[in-house]
Symmetry: C2
């Protein structure tokens, strides 16, 4: 099994990406990683550690400042476009990992790899921590599709349910619809139309969830259009970082607060809990092949975790499950949106 | 000047509401508060302190479990409906305060009081703290209108700009559009259509803002449809409460963490900063008369602050300013949505 990794995507590329690939092949002896990017630089980092690591040379880099569509079309010798070409052209390459521009990864996946039959809109599905120990929650879609119809939300639901089930081992993950109220009659036009249809899907739909309950750990998957999903995810990020800044500022004001702030450093469990990235990356669900975007600031451990995540999703046949579910859905007249 | 207060709305009614009214009339010697609700119970709490406090008897109570529309139509002897009747029928009553059901307050405002000419959709506009000292940010709309068109967002922008200006004293508050990216071309259909129109409004429009920047203190007003606004506000609430719970749990695990948690209690400034309610309540902007919803768990200080907020908005002619701005907007062909 081979996985292709964009060695020049992300803030810590190429060093941390290359080291993450080395960690991954050491962890899984069946795995080969193909690294794309400047061959000389990659070889220098590898310094001979090339067992089950292949390199495909690519001289260009796509940055967050590039227009995604233009970059994918024009930067043909970029590490990301080369990675997509390798994913597309080789049957034994089962997935792609990149810490680069989210927009470029999504655009590349659509243009180069394409969608699973029946899925009109692939969706990005990151993981958030919750207040319950070892419990996480997945948000689908988190921003790939800002204008959605009911049908799209239904697809997000079945894809993320299958994904959650593989990651957690829970065969019946709880799926909820993000809404402005818990009651069935609440919502905007989109969620009100989607609710009754979602009840008929072959998943464990548990109803609406309000944004304040996102971290409660009560559900496994939260389905939303990408605009609201983006607002949700970024406000979680913003508040967590805002609270940290406030704590830091207060800490300078008096000795009690200073001690308190030092003690905060001891909250290892908390820090780890809030570190979403240890779970790997966010898969772009609904692509013909596995594509996982990991955080731009990913270090070698996170890169390794993300590669291992692709292995897990491939071995558990995520895409075959999605294909089967969407076929079932299309044959069920009750869930026609 | 008179302000009517629903004495039986909220979790701490009637005690804290009545005590809040007493605080307010003691603070402002020109002010009379009209309390609606069970007269005997209110008089018992007042215990003779009735200078500039009037009571209008009402035997029913509207709860969060009531359907807002049915409750406003049928519970004619409820403290809230009586309060709206008084607001409607008396020229010297300039505003209404309630800590009761948000849905019922919004419905009552629309059905009993009506909209300012030219404003198609009144909007709820709560305040959030930011990481900057003494700087807050207003979110408009936070949930009253879950399906919006561009025109509605433009109205939200001018109303909240006028409101922010009165509250902060800053004549030129910075108004931003909540979006899934900072760049002008980003957004869903609604925000992409709204952006260029908002540039032509007679306000200080500073462009898009991402949800992660909400607490940055860089802008004064964030304009959004009520669905995304609800997601934003509730996720802020959820993360803040989730982080507190996590800290508390961790605190039980080891002595360092325990001391840390105790020290957290010393972070008075922080606690106050995160306590949104000290600023008062959320006005329902665009109603013919001032209607302010305050938090269900409001104590006497918050009730008092909310009453004083109505005084301030009335004295600074918020509604006249909104009328003037919406007239200007309607005469400007460039901002036709």
């Amino acid at each position: 099994m081979k996985i292709v990794v964009d060695a020049f995507g992300g803030d810590n590329a190429p060093l941390e990406v290359v080291e993450g690939a080395v960690l991954a092949v050491n962890k899984d002896k069946e795995l080969t990683v193909v690294l794309t990017g400047d061959k000389d630089k990659i070889e220098k980092i590898l310094n001979g550690r090339q067992e089950r690591i292949e390199i495909v040379d690519a001289k260009e880099i796509i940055s967050n400042n590039d227009s995604p569509t233009l970059a994918i079309r024009q930067k043909k010798d970029s590490s990301l476009v080369r990675a997509f070409d390798i994913l597309k052209e080789n049957n034994d390459v089962v997935g792609l990992v990149s810490a680069g521009s989210t927009g470029a990864v999504l655009t590349g996946a659509i243009l180069k790899i394409g969608r699973i039959k029946g899925i009109s809109r692939p969706a990005l599905c990151p993981i958030l921590p919750t207040v319950k120990p070892d419990k996480t929650v997945m948000i689908c879609d988190s921003g790939a599709n800002v204008d959605c119809k009911s049908e799209h939300l239904l697809h997000f639901a079945i894809m993320a349910s299958a994904y959650s089930s593989i990651m957690s081992g829970d065969k019946n993950p709880k799926v909820a619809l993000l809404n402005n109220g818990a009651e069935e009659h609440k919502g905007n036009e989109l969620t009100k139309e989607t609710y009754p249809l979602m009840q008929k899907l072959p998943i464990n739909f548990v109803g609406n969830i309000e944004a304040r309950e996102v971290m409660s750990g009560e559900v496994d998957v939260i389905v939303t259009d990408g605009f609201a999903g983006n607002i949700l995810l970024k406000s979680v990020e913003g508040v967590a970082s805002g609270m940290s800044k406030l704590i830091h500022k207060e800490a300078k004001k008096n000795i009690f607060a200073m001690i308190g702030a030092v003690m905060m450093g001891k909250f290892k469990g908390l820090k780890e809990k809030m570190d979403i990235n240890k779970y790997g990356g966010a898969p772009f669900l609904g692509c013909k092949k596995l594509v996982v975007k990991t955080h731009g600031s990913a270090n070698r451990e996170i890169i390794c975790n993300t590669i291992m995540q692709v292995v897990k999703l491939y071995e558990n046949k995520l895409n075959e499950q999605i294909e089967k579910l969407v076929l079932e859905m299309s044959e069920n007249d009750e869930v026609k949106a």
